[in-house]
């Protein structure tokens, strides 16, 4: 379970998160929607401690993420993260990309790590690309590679930061398909997205962010078909 309590975060004088409360249960898929700059991505980075926080607290399975004694490297293994810019490691093959963390972080033997990697690459449909370098893969394939890389650490949670925003339109589908697959397998997911149909179809709950405030949250049919917040109504009509 991931719990955010009265979470505050500022960049200099700019307050980007103004007291967020949110609980994500295991097995749940929560989509975060809202205009750019509304604080969605920052919220993800507060969960995996890529960002520090200025107030409140974040707990993952009862462990306070930003507390002094927390072993953040250990905690991050539970929190798979997929970025907008997929950040595949260009000097390693697909197999090596995925096997690296199991080998150096989880201390699997090279052979076991490669088995894990091969399994996860098949999982995302890249079973025939094991020895390809990222430069030989399309954007969609590289993003699936990034998903496989995160899955290889057997995370409890997956955080997606606009995983399809940097992709060519024709490549968006293959990545969304993998995300749907994960959701159907029961993965707990927090998904920052501009893909409204994905949010509607796959999420258990949709949360609308507005200028650092969680303005509206609920089941997708309520939030998206019957929005209460006037800004959300406007947002949904402009984004289609």
């Amino acid at each position: 379970m991931i719990v955010l309590e009265n979470l505050h975060k500022s960049f200099g004088p700019l307050e980007v998160l103004k007291g967020i409360n949110l609980t994500v249960d295991n097995g749940e898929v929560v989509s975060l929607i809202g205009a750019s700059g509304s604080g969605k991505s920052t919220l993800l980075y507060c969960i995996n401690a890529l960002e520090t926080i200025d107030g409140g607290k974040v707990t993952v399975d009862g462990v306070e993420v930003h507390a002094k004694g927390t072993d953040i490297n250990k905690l991050r293994q539970k929190l798979g993260t997929v970025f907008q810019q997929w950040n595949s490691f260009p000097h390693l093959t697909a197999l090596e990309n995925v096997a690296l963390a199991p080998r150096v972080v989880s201390k699997f033997s090279r052979k076991d790590a490669q088995e894990i990697a091969a399994k996860q690459l098949k999982h995302v449909g890249l079973g025939d690309k094991l020895n390809h370098y990222p430069s030989q893969l399309s954007g969609g394939q590289q993003q699936r590679l990034a998903i496989a890389r995160a899955l290889a650490m057997e995370p409890t949670y997956m955080l997606f930061d606009e995983a399809t925003s940097a992709l060519d339109p024709e490549l968006v589908g293959e990545v969304l398909d993998i995300m749907r697959l994960l959701a159907s397998e029961g993965m707990t997911m927090i998904v920052v997205t501009h893909e409204m149909s994905f949010a509607r179809d796959v999420s258990d709950r949709v949360a609308f962010f507005k200028k650092g405030v969680l303005a509206e949250i609920g089941a997708p049919e309520d939030v998206m078909n019957n929005p209460q917040d006037p800004d959300l109504q406007r947002f949904l009509s402009t984004i289609g």
């Binding site: 890529l50 970025f83 490691f89 690296l100 430069s135």
Partner: protein, 224 residues
């Protein structure tokens, strides 16, 4: 032209010249290896939050890059004597060339680190890697690829610059050549032969770097 070429003295001295080439090679290799390591430390110093480290790193780089290499050798060989520190020619030349290489490499590393996207480290850290692991397995291999060309240049530069060592009394290839020149007065022959030897050493160094670099550039070769 009245000048008669006499190559015999050169041929007779060849074993000694080749032995001196080994000194040249040794001095350059040590200076380059130490320079690579210290240069990386200086890069981190300059990127540090601590003002003292930043100041130290920047001062080193400024002096190393903006004063003549010859003066740097003189400082280590004669200058330190003023403070009661007496280095042998060999140590002084190695130290001075290391000082110089480290300064240049620190600046080269800076370019290399800038060339690696910040997202790489982030991605590594979110997989649970420590700062060190991310550096070791993800960032540095990419930095190394980015700086490989300039690093190779630096290596050939230090081989050629080590000839300045003769002015601090080191019997490396140039020093040895000068010694034979003063005994035989076959100036042109000796320095021509030595130039060829330098050329061959530099070529060998390039070949060595190309071979060492092969595993680094697997991904680039896969593209074509």
């Amino acid at each position: 032209m009245d000048y008669q070429f006499h190559w015999r003295p050169v041929i007779q001295a060849l074993p000694d010249l080749l032995k001196a080439s080994l000194v040249t090679l040794q001095v350059s290799l040590i200076a380059m290896a130490l320079g690579l390591m210290i240069g990386l430390v200086l890069y981190f110093f300059r990127a540090s939050q601590l003002r003292v480290l930043r100041g130290f790193g920047s001062t080193w780089v400024e002096i190393a890059r903006n004063t003549p290499s010859l003066f740097q050798i003189f400082v280590f060989y004669w200058g330190l004597g003023e403070f009661g520190i007496f280095l042998s020619s060999y140590t002084a030349v190695v130290a001075a060339l290391t000082f110089n290489c480290a300064g240049y490499m620190a600046e080269t590393y800076r370019g290399g680190f800038n060339a690696v996207n910040a997202g790489q480290d982030k991605a590594a850290r979110t997989l649970g890697m420590t700062r060190f692991q991310s550096m070791r397995y993800v960032v540095l291999p990419q930095v190394l690829r980015a700086i490989y060309g300039p690093m190779t240049n630096q290596f050939t530069w230090v081989i050629l610059a080590s000839s300045l060592g003769m002015l601090a009394g080191l019997r490396e290839l140039s020093g040895e050549t000068q010694y034979f020149n003063s005994r035989t007065f076959r100036t042109f022959e000796f320095f021509a032969a030595t130039a060829v030897i330098y050329y061959l050493i530099a070529k060998m160094a390039l070949l060595l770097m190309a071979l060492l670099g092969r595993p680094l550039f697997k991904a680039e070769r896969a593209k074509s």
